[in-house]
Amino acid sequence: MNFGWIDKRRIPLAWLLLTRQPFRLFVALAGICFAGILMFMQLGFRDGLFDASITVHKLFDADLVLISPRSKSSISMAGFPRRRLVQVMAHEDVVGITPVNWNFLLWRNPKTLSTRSILALGFEPNDRLFTDSNLSRKAKTLTQYGRVLFDERSRKEFGPIAKWFREGKRIETELAGKRIRVTGLISLGPSFGADGNLITSRETYLDLMPNNPPGSIEIGLIRLKVGANPYMVRQILSRSLPKDVKVLTLKDFLEFEKNYWRSSTSIGFIFSLGAAMGFVVGCVIVYQILYSDVSDHLPEYATLIAMGYKLKNLFGVVAREGFLLAVMGYLPAYAAGQGLYALVRSSTNLPVAMNASRALFVFFMILFMCMISALLAMRRLVDADPAEIF
């Protein structure tokens, strides 16, 4: 057998260099793994934060959303006149509206009696609020005064509400200093802005917030006819409405919230910096390992040059070492990342998960890290002088 393409195969020097020095390989892989895990965690937290900031937003059943231009984010929503929302009904493409109140209220943990602020949504129980149709059934119980639906995925600091509810206990506690009763559970999830959520009727909501002007709402949901173009309708509406409201498509509404966390806070920067630190630490470790590996084998490299190998061949050996390190270091980092994400999800309820783009991004960062280090370590090869080895 003599296939032209097999002919080029040679002794896999890079692989043997790495595997016949297991301790050095272990240190290098540990360093790369550490850098990879750090990047996975920091980027995962960053993306998770941005995704977590819209856990409630993305459930809304709406094509367009009205908010006050003074609203900066979910944790500082300003009110606007409810009339504005009614006005949009004049447009032929609008088929439904839902006025929503949105604010943070103090919830008393019925077990420990300590208080904590919770996100409360108020709406007319007969309106459509979320795309999930389960809610409308449960919402019927809200027509009675003083009833709330509690988010079972709220942090446990609010009390063992879900557990008690399933056990059939009657749960009564204080919300904003007034007595309320939990008549059902919903599943939304905490966000960075809110540790827990609850839903109540507009009537109850206004009673809990006596200072809130009755004609004022924080969010107006607008549903359009099937086939209507939300961008066109938005344009028309924003031209016809006064400047005390802003019209957003649902997608813009989600971006509006994410953008707040991204730009108005340094959270995005901090997590990106954390990831960058991982990158730099990884670079330093891999460079150190490869550099000392080249230095230790300099006489052997010089021998190879004396035998007739090209400097290019030796560069290739170091580059291949970098590539192998990247691949071998990435795999455990990926596995550890998956494990830690699961841990974070179970202990914080944050929607942190591996996704293809982050998995690829971290792989390329690790590859970049290893190749840069290999490139720098190659400079040492120039010192391999075959005339000095006799």
Binding site: D7, L304, G308, P386, I389, F390
Partner: protein
């Protein structure tokens, strides 16, 4: 000894040196190490170069091995003119020259077989398995067929030097340069190694230039050159 190619050998020496000089250092520290050396080595010849320490033997060897730039004089090795040569030409030439060093200079992380295959991997146009077969054959030639999978660390000094010889021969060189190949060996092992070197080079019609201090092995040479103070004394 009758050389079947003696007619050609006379026409095409493997190594041809004409008034080659070499200097180390700069300015006032500049010292002449080689002083207009002239000589020829023919295919199949075993030439031994001896002389006191520091007389420039290794320097001459590295020049012939295309490991240094030629400063002045003419140096032609296997048809390549080294004066003013390009890097690529020197690299190509090195593929055709086998080198054996005082220390064995084996790659510590490769087995004997892999070390020798580093030599045969330099051959163009052979498949991986052919090159490995070549490596095994060379190890068999030096009597190490049972040590294929040992790392240099686990071999004795004489065995290491034999692996080094196998590696040098695996690339099928036309010229073999050896710098004190027996220095690290006891006298009987040294003798064995040198005999082996001579036998294999004769079989493969490969010219050998060997530097040695050891007077007991001078008799393997077809010719002994004495060097002193950068000059080669008339051949004995």
């Amino acid at each position: 000894m009758k050389n079947p190619t003696s007619q050609n050998s006379l026409l095409f020496p493997s190594v041809s040196i004409k008034s080659l000089s070499h200097y180390f250092g700069k300015g006032t520290n500049k010292r002449r190490i080689l002083d207009s050396i002239s000589m020829k080595i023919y295919p199949g010849e075993v030439v031994i170069l001896t002389g006191p320490s520091g007389c420039g033997k290794t320097t001459l060897l590295t020049l012939i091995g295309a490991l240094r730039k030629v400063q002045s004089g003419d140096l032609n090795v296997l048809g390549t003119e080294l004066q003013g040569s390009r890097r690529r030409e020197r690299q190509k030439l090195r593929c055709q020259i086998g080198m054996i060093f005082q220390g064995h200079n084996l790659l510590a992380f490769l087995t004997s077989e892999q070390n020798v295959q580093m030599g045969s991997d330099l051959l163009n146009g052979y498949s991986y398995s052919e090159r490995r077969a070549q490596a095994r054959q060379c190890l068999r030639d030096v009597g190490l067929e049972d040590e294929l999978n040992k790392l240099p660390h686990d071999l004795s000094g004489g065995q290491k030097q034999r692996v080094a010889i196998a590696r040098a021969l695996a690339a099928r060189p036309q010229l073999l340069l050896a710098d004190e190949p027996t220095a690290a060996l006891d006298s009987s092992t040294g003798r064995e190694v040198v005999n082996l070197l001579k036998k294999l080079s004769k079989e493969k019609a490969c010219a050998v230039l060997m530097v040695t201090h050891d007077p007991r092995i001078l008799d393997v040479a077809d010719r002994v050159l004495k060097m002193e103070d950068g000059r080669i004394n008339p051949a004995i």
